[in-house]
């Protein structure tokens, strides 16, 4: 199946500063793809290039199979986007702001009412945008992105400035969008948010992708084994066990790939081998821990 977004060595320099450095992305149809990175990592610049707002210094970007540089109009026809803070006319009502966009796209006003209802803003649609709370502004931004029923939706920090309830609401909305067959490209620096809704992620740091793949595959799962001394003997014992497929040092402990119901066997194995055991438990890293791990690894190198 063709990628919805694909980049080839996409690069953007602003003077001497490299904002985005030879990134290769692939986003598949129907997935919620997380684009992660700290503030200033180059996420918004990448979105800008994907939307034809910023010209790449080199490399190429394809959206829905079209080269953004050469066929921007075709590429973006079925893309809805909210970039950073939702940007609207403060003196217009939420409804009129959407009507401006609908008129420009030749869409009927009926569509405005539909998206207002979809993001639960109908009751406040007559109020000026300038009077909206941050959560309402974000919802209006998403409504604008949905207006022309796009196949691909790019959301840049959609939960910025929202309280936990607002964040939850946006997460539900993102899931429902994906459920209706759309692809969602979710840009965020909030790792737990991405972990909760995304199937695959790319992690960007200082303009470079340092990890990309399925969330489940990137996160480390296994059995954590902590011994009291005797590390070498413990490692040798674990490695010689046929149902342990991988043993790796994890701080002062080991993280091993083993069936979850073998913790008692591991304990028995180590105790019989003369290794005192301090702790054995199931373990799963969070995306946050993974992020810190890969970014600090890179810094060490």
């Amino acid at each position: 199946m063709d990628a919805v977004i694909r980049t080839e060595e996409l690069t953007k320099r602003f003077g001497d500063r490299v904002a985005v450095d030879r990134i290769n992305l692939e986003v598949r149809p129907g997935e919620i793809f997380g684009f992660l990175g700290p503030n200033g990592a180059g996420k918004t610049t990448t979105i800008g290039m994907l939307l034809g707002l910023i010209r790449p210094t080199s490399g190429r970007a394809f959206v829905l199979g079209c080269d953004v540089q050469r066929e921007a109009a075709t590429a973006l026809r079925e893309v809805g986007a909210m970039i950073e803070a939702p940007a609207f006319y403060p003196y217009l009502s939420g409804r009129d702001n959407l009507r401006v966009l609908a008129r420009a796209a030749g869409l009927p006003d009926r569509r405005v009412e539909e998206v207002l209802a979809q993001v639960d803003l109908t009751a406040r649609a007559r109020d000026r945008f300038g009077t909206y709370s941050q959560g309402m502004k974000q919802r209006l931004g998403i409504a604008a992105a949905l207006l022309h029923e796009p196949r691909l939706i790019m959301l840049d920090e959609p939960t910025n400035g929202l309280d936990p309830a607002g964040q939850l609401e946006i997460r539900h909305l993102v899931r429902s969008l994906s459920g209706s067959g759309r692809t969602v490209f979710l840009c965020s620096h909030l790792l737990h948010e991405v972990e909760q809704v995304c199937q695959r992620v790319a992690i960007l740091k200082q303009g470079r992708i340092i990890a990309q793949g399925e969330v489940a595959a990137l996160l480390r799962r296994g059995v954590l084994v902590r011994t009291i001394g005797e590390r070498e003997r413990a490692e040798a014992l674990l490695r010689s066990t046929p149902w342990v497929s991988r043993v790796s040092a994890y701080g002062d402990a080991f993280l091993i790939d083993a069936p979850g119901d073998r913790t008692a066997d591991i304990n028995a194995l180590l105790t019989a081998g003369g290794v005192p055991v301090a702790e054995i438990r199931h373990y799963e890293t969070s995306l946050e821990e993974f992020f810190l791990e890969v970014t600090t690894e890179r810094e060490r190198r």
């Binding site: 800008g48 034809g52 707002l53 010209r55 893309v79 609207f88 006319y89 401006v100």
Partner: protein, 290 residues
């Protein structure tokens, strides 16, 4: 394109700045006409230039001269309002970040800018027509006080159509310069500063008109300014409705560019600013709000 113009019209017509500018523009027109009326009503007998000036003001309050007064207002103070309006229409898109919202949906930047320009000119045309209508209304009300009737010849109506088009044509280079400066600086204030500064500098340059006496490059440079060429066009509007400003001001008609040159020079300036605006807008990155 029509869809984009409809969208732009919705934005501009709902914007408080548009209505504030229009109100101020019309109030100042009314004030100008009333001052002219007050000065001419019960006018004592005067002689020479003073008398000619008062007579010119009187003609400017009566038909068809009132049309020339309205059109002069459009090309005088109206120019300043047009610059503010154009800078606001483009510059706010940058400061609010709404330009990204639009261009992320429709990347045809040239079409977007042309739709914006068309809408700005449409709004200026509407303001000009309103000014003419308001001036005509006041003219009808004031005519009996000056012992004059209200008579408009078919020729005046034809002149009025031409006059309105000429007045808008005169505004065009200033609007386009402002648009270019706003795009260049990505800011309302930047566009405003350049647009208004140009008007002020050109007015100042006008006082240096004596440099024409030096001839050669000086005379040529002076003759190619926007201001000098629009003087010809605005004077045509006054003459069309029976006003004779040369009888009251030190205006040497022989020194003015010909209507053909004036039309051509204004077209060249407008085309240059339009080309620069389009080129700049198409090639520049669109980043976040300033």
């Amino acid at each position: 394109m029509i869809n984009l113009i409809r969208a732009e019209w919705l934005k501009l017509s709902r914007r408080p700045l548009s209505w504030i500018l229009l109100s101020l523009f019309l109030v100042l027109l009314v004030a100008q006409v009333l001052v002219q009326f007050a000065l001419t009503v019960g006018m004592p007998v005067r002689s020479g230039v003073v008398s000619a000036q008062f007579e010119e003001w009187r003609r400017g309050v009566l038909f068809p001269g009132i049309f020339a007064t309205a059109l002069s207002h459009v090309n005088g103070l109206g120019g300043i309002f047009a610059v503010i309006f154009a800078a606001g229409a483009i510059g706010s898109e940058y400061s609010w970040g709404t330009i990204r919202t639009h261009l992320a949906r429709d990347p045809a930047r040239g079409r977007y800018l042309l739709a914006k320009l068309a809408t700005i000119m449409l709004a200026l045309a509407a303001a000009t027509l309103l000014a003419v209508a308001l001036a005509a209304l006041i003219g009808v009300m004031l005519a009996p006080f000056l012992g004059a009737g209200v008579s408009i010849a078919p020729g005046d109506l034809a002149n009025l159509i031409l006059g309105v088009l000429r007045a808008l044509y005169v505004l065009l280079p200033y609007v386009l310069l402002t648009v270019y400066a706003t795009l260049l600086t990505r800011s309302l204030l930047g566009g405003l500063a350049v647009g208004l500064s140009y008007i002020i500098v050109e007015a100042g340059f006008g006082t240096l008109a004596l440099l024409r006496i030096l001839g050669g490059v000086w005379a040529l440079a002076y003759n190619l300014t926007i201001g000098q060429n629009i003087n010809t066009l605005t004077l045509m509007n006054r003459h069309a409705f029976g006003l004779r400003p040369e009888t009251t001001a030190p205006l040497d008609l022989s020194q003015l560019p010909s209507p053909l040159q004036a039309t051509f020079v204004v077209a060249v300036y407008s085309a240059l600013f339009l080309f620069l605006s389009l080129h700049f807008f198409r090639t520049r990155d669109i980043t976040g709000p300033n």
